[in-house]
Amino acid sequence: MQVPATFAYERADSVPHALELLERYGPEARVVAGGHSLIPMMKLRLAQPEALIDINGLAGELGRIAVEGDELAIGAMVRHTELLESVTATDLFPIFRDAERVIADPIVRNRGTVGGSLCQGDPSEDLAAVFAALRATAVVQGPGGVRTVPVRRFHQGPYETAVAPNELLIQLRVPVAAGTGSAYEKVERRAGDWPVAAAGAVLRIEGGTIVQAGIGLTAVGAPHFCAPEAETYLEGREPGEEAFAEAGRIAAEGCAPHADQRGPADYKRHLAAELTRRALVRAAGRS
């Protein structure tokens, strides 16, 4: 039996209540959402928070998926399964379906949340690449009120995010535009495993020309989970196998993968190129 160290436990019943509890317990307190990243680390005693602030009571308040104006709003407490099953989200952005089908397994997806995924800041998180590709904006609330952070500035290093200890991530907002196609490609060693590498692509094509490209990469050491040079290369070009292969090559150059038991660095870099290319091909087919 793996058992965590002792901790205090509080249940929040609203966002202000959660913020108040965070304030009261200080920086050694941690929010728990789905718990599928935090609890395993506590059981291994890699994380030993003094207090857990349970925000599952906010699932109603922070669990909505809706189009608001020209943005798709996704609450931080949306579970992976809910995103996977949301026709609103996946019709607009099939990248969500592609990615969510291969994140963890149904048991983890039933509990794990979108907000938890991003706040965990794991360098291999799938949704980090997805939201980076989508150029989403994170909405963060703290004692001083609400602020927004572009997702591409949300992650500040491995396991480090823009959310301060006394703040909550409450929502993600994704710009919606016509003519957009999106896709996600992942290589895992086994169903339910973290990615060896994965790439997401979002293409807005108008009149046969790429007007905007978004490329997200995870597990390959891509700064901020994206590939801006490859995106720039694509913008203004016609979609096509060669352009996508070149974009993949450029994207891979911007990565700094580490070897681990999932694979050596050269392989991961190769996957960054190959999966970017494949995701772009599929995204173009969907635009």
Binding site: M1, Q2, V3, A5, T6, L44, R45, D105, V187, R189, R190, A191, G192, D193, W194, V196, A259, D260, Q261, R262, G263, P264, Y267, H270, L271, E274, L275, R278
Partner: protein
């Protein structure tokens, strides 16, 4: 009558969550133990300070190697005549080794207190790469043993070296291949643990633990701890998977016992997942070089192999004493080969002890993998179809019983029939045609064939023992007055369905429904002696004992029936589950009628006691030799290296099938294991000896997503030496399937000139192999 498909009797409790596992055992006043483990692979222990842990308000005892040394229990014998530290005294020799044991009022406090123990280590260089263990100047791991100057454990050989070398010298074709069967772990879902309860008043020790061999455990406790054997009771309750990893005695069991003796309370210790993966019995870890000599037209003449066996820090493999490499020397496999020779060298490394565990039939897995890979390497060299090459060399039915070049006596088989059936089921020729089309389009599809011969059912006891305990099994059968029966056996199911299968054997022999037979197992106070369940030996040995003890009861029933019918026993015949006067079925007496009579005031002939019970001990005359032919079809994505197992055809021959559904379940599980080993499972270590597979995030078990819908076929060649012709099947699929998967992947990669790739064939590994730059799968990925 009773053989055939029936639902498992044990399923009713398992699917309702009503099984009783070791962790479900709760005794009044029970305390909880936890083990402090070494973070280092190799380090000298300078000091251990337990004072802060002892001061913890809920801690009742802290036990260290020094405490145990005072009781002469710091070291215990392994199953291979070595010794293993229970709690380290001088050095730690692998990461995760047991250093101290805390007993506390609850499991949380026990874990908290571990963090209060202060151990001062002086790190030493570690021996991680087995290929460097014998280098001059390599750190000496076992300096505790008198006179040890290196890490060599044993050299062992089998077969005829001179004759084999001669065949190789004049052979038209020879091929050689280095290959690694990496270190893997059986990873049962239930981890190991124990509840020990020493009663100071009666002096009786009761130990609940998930052991596959309860009687062997009891005897070993008696020998090690000096407790009288009749004062030890080992209870193995329901077990959540064993696969060989629950044969031996682990330090935690001894610690729980000592904890109970010291505190006077029952003590429970359950390891967690990481502890299980890091410290309990591993499997395989064979570095092999195989060679085959053949004629140009594909007649295999000789096979030889050199093995470097990584045994970890203590030599604790669980196999018959005579055979330090288990049954590896069945590596001539299913083929008619003139001569064979193998050499095995065992070495110590700074890794956990163990060996053989994981459904391998005492290393038949490694042997089958070696020969089946080598046959494919030869096929590639000769440009011959691998199925055709096998058909050309398989033993013929008329050659049985067959004595192999290394001395095994295969009991029975029709190998070509099994392979042809598998090829038919797979549509072999069509698959090859499809593959040719795909290759022309640049797509990678592979077809892998493997054929295996298993050697299971150890004894006979003159050849097979563990620490001097011969491998024969007892059985006791008692028929109650109303004709219901209770069978007591020594082996212990870990999911194999013994409560059903063995009841069916009794039912078949006595003409009663299997539901009328209760099978008692796992409790040494209630069952006769025997060596336990591993090496697929339960049906071959305890199952045979069951058939024989039932026949004894049937013979006794005949005498009682004769008295009931006022006839001579010689005039009775057994038909349709009844004893009747020859030619007059209307006189038939069922077992229930006879049982009641046997308990009644019926006058019995002189010399016959009442009741209807019998006991027996079965000493198998030979092993049994199940076999099978497997065909695997894979698709490989050249851009990512991902392997998809598209189809898997498995034809198994395990002799007579008692419950075909249980047999198929065993095969399904074994095939999944095989896919897991071939594609994802490995315990690698970095150069400092850190275990890189110590959780299920890093040590991957296959899921249904990686497994195709298995396509099974069967042939039935009864074993001539087994009373009901059964051969055992628990490990067949684990033994036979990895080679089929690897052969399929290598076949898919043939356009790149690939002839071999080591397991596990992860996407990264496959991609590197395609690019001609494979990495060592047993070390940290570079």
């Amino acid at each position: 009558m009773s053989f055939g498909r029936m639902h498992r009797k044990e399923d009713a409790r398992f699917i309702r969550g009503r099984g009783t596992y070791t962790d479900d055992v709760r005794l009044p006043g029970m305390l909880y133990g936890a083990i402090l483990r070494s973070p280092h692979a190799h380090a000298r222990i300078v000091s251990v300070d337990t004072s802060a842990a002892e001061a913890h308000p809920k801690v009742r005892a802290v036990i260290t190697g020094q405490t145990l040394a005072g009781l002469n229990l710091a070291w215990m014998p392994t199953l291979s005549n070595d010794i293993q530290a229970v709690l380290a005294t001088d050095k730690v020799r692998f990461q995760g080794q047991e250093v101290a044991f805390v007993v506390a009022e609850d499991p949380y406090s026990a874990r908290d207190a571990l963090e209060l123990i202060d151990v001062d280590y002086e790190p030493l260089d570690a021996v991680i790469d087995a290929r460097k263990a014998l280098d001059p100047g390599a750190p000496v791991i076992r300096d505790d043993l008198e006179g040890r100057t290196g890490n060599h454990i044993f050299d062992w050989e089998a077969g005829d070296r001179a004759r084999t070398d001669a065949v190789f010298e004049r052979a038209e074709v020879t091929v050689a291949q280095d290959m690694l069967y990496p270190r893997v772990h059986p990873a049962p879902l239930e981890t190991c643990g124990a509840v020990a309860d020493f009663d100071k008043v009666t002096g009786k020790l009761t130990v609940w633990c998930p052991t596959q061999a309860p009687h062997a455990h009891r005897t070993l406790y008696a020998m090690v701890a000096g407790l009288p054997e009749h004062k030890i009771r080992v209870i193995s309750p329901d077990i959540g998977g064993g696969f060989g990893g629950k044969v031996g005695i682990y330090p935690g069991y001894v610690c729980a016992i000592v904890g109970s003796i010291v505190t006077g309370k029952p003590v429970k210790w359950m390891e967690d997942r990481s502890e299980n993966l890091m410290s309990t019995a591993f499997a395989r870890d064979y570095h092999m070089r195989g060679e085959i000599a053949a004629t140009r037209d594909g007649r295999i003449q000789g096979i030889r192999v050199k093995v470097l066996a990584d045994h970890g820090a203590f030599n604790g493999t669980a196999q018959p004493t005579k055979f330090p490499a288990g049954f590896f020397h069945v590596f001539s496999g299913s083929y008619d080969i003139e001569t064979a020779h193998c050499e095995v060298t065992g070495v110590y490394t700074n890794k956990a002890p163990g060996g053989v565990a994981y459904a391998c039939s005492f290393r038949v897995t490694e042997a089958v993998y070696l020969v089946e890979r080598m046959v494919d390497v030869l096929a590639a060299e000769l440009g011959m179809d691998p199925a055709e090459l096998r058909l050309r060399n398989l033993l013929k039915p008329e050659q049985f019983p067959y004595t192999s070049p290394t001395g095994w006596e295969y009991d029975s088989g029709d190998y070509p029939k099994a392979l042809r059936l598998a090829m038919d089921l797979a549509g072999y020729d069509k698959l090859r045609a499809e593959q040719a089309d795909k290759r022309a389009r640049g797509e990678l599809m592979g077809i892998g064939v493997s054929f295996f011969t298993e050697a299971v059912g150890a004894g006979p006891r003159k050849h097979m023992d563990i620490l001097g305990l011969g491998m024969a099994d007892g059985a006791e059968l008692r028929v109650h007055p109303t004709g219901k029966a209770v069978l007591r056996v020594s082996c212990q199911s870990q999911g194999q369905g013994h409560e059903t299968t063995f009841a069916q054997i009794v039912g078949q022999e006595l003409g009663i429904p299997a539901d009328d037979v209760e099978v008692v197992h796992g409790d040494t106070d209630q069952t006769p002696f025997g060596l336990g369940t591993y090496g697929s030996r339960s049906t071959p040995v305890s199952g045979a004992a069951t058939a024989i003890v039932a026949r004894k009861v049937r013979d006794r029933a005949k005498i009682v029936a004769a008295a009931m019918l006022e006839a001579s026993p010689d005039d009775l015949e057994w038909a349709d589950g009844r004893w009747s006067v020859v030619g007059d079925p209307s006189t038939g007496k069922s077992l229930a009628e006879i049982a009641l009579a046997a308990h009644s005031n019926l006058e019995l002939p002189e010399g016959v006691e009442g009741h209807l019970d019998a006991v027996t001990v079965y000493n198998p005359p030979n092993l049994t030799y199940p076999f099978g032919a497997y065909i695997c079809v894979v698709d490989v994505d050249p851009g990512t290296g991902q392997v998809k197992v598209r189809r898997f055809v498995a034809v198994d021959d395990c002799g007579v099938r008692i419950n075909p559904m249980i047999v198929e379940g065993q095969i399904h599980g074994g095939l999944a294991d095989g896919v897991g080993m071939a594609l994802m499972q490995v315990m690698a270590f970095d150069e400092d000896g850190n275990h890189l597979g110590a959780s299920f995030m890093d040590y991957l078990l296959p899921t249904s997503m990686e497994c195709p819908s298995w396509e099974l076929g069967e042939t039935v060649t009864p074993s001539p030496t087994h009373p009901i012709g059964a051969k055992g099947v628990g490990e067949s699929a684990t033994v036979g399937s990895p080679a089929a998967v690897v052969n399929a992947v290598v076949d898919a990669l043939a356009p790149y000139g690939v002839r071999h790739a080591d397991m596990p064939l992860t996407p990264a590994n496959v991609w590197r192999v395609v690019n001609g730059n494979p990495f060592r799968t047993d070390l940290a990925v570079p």
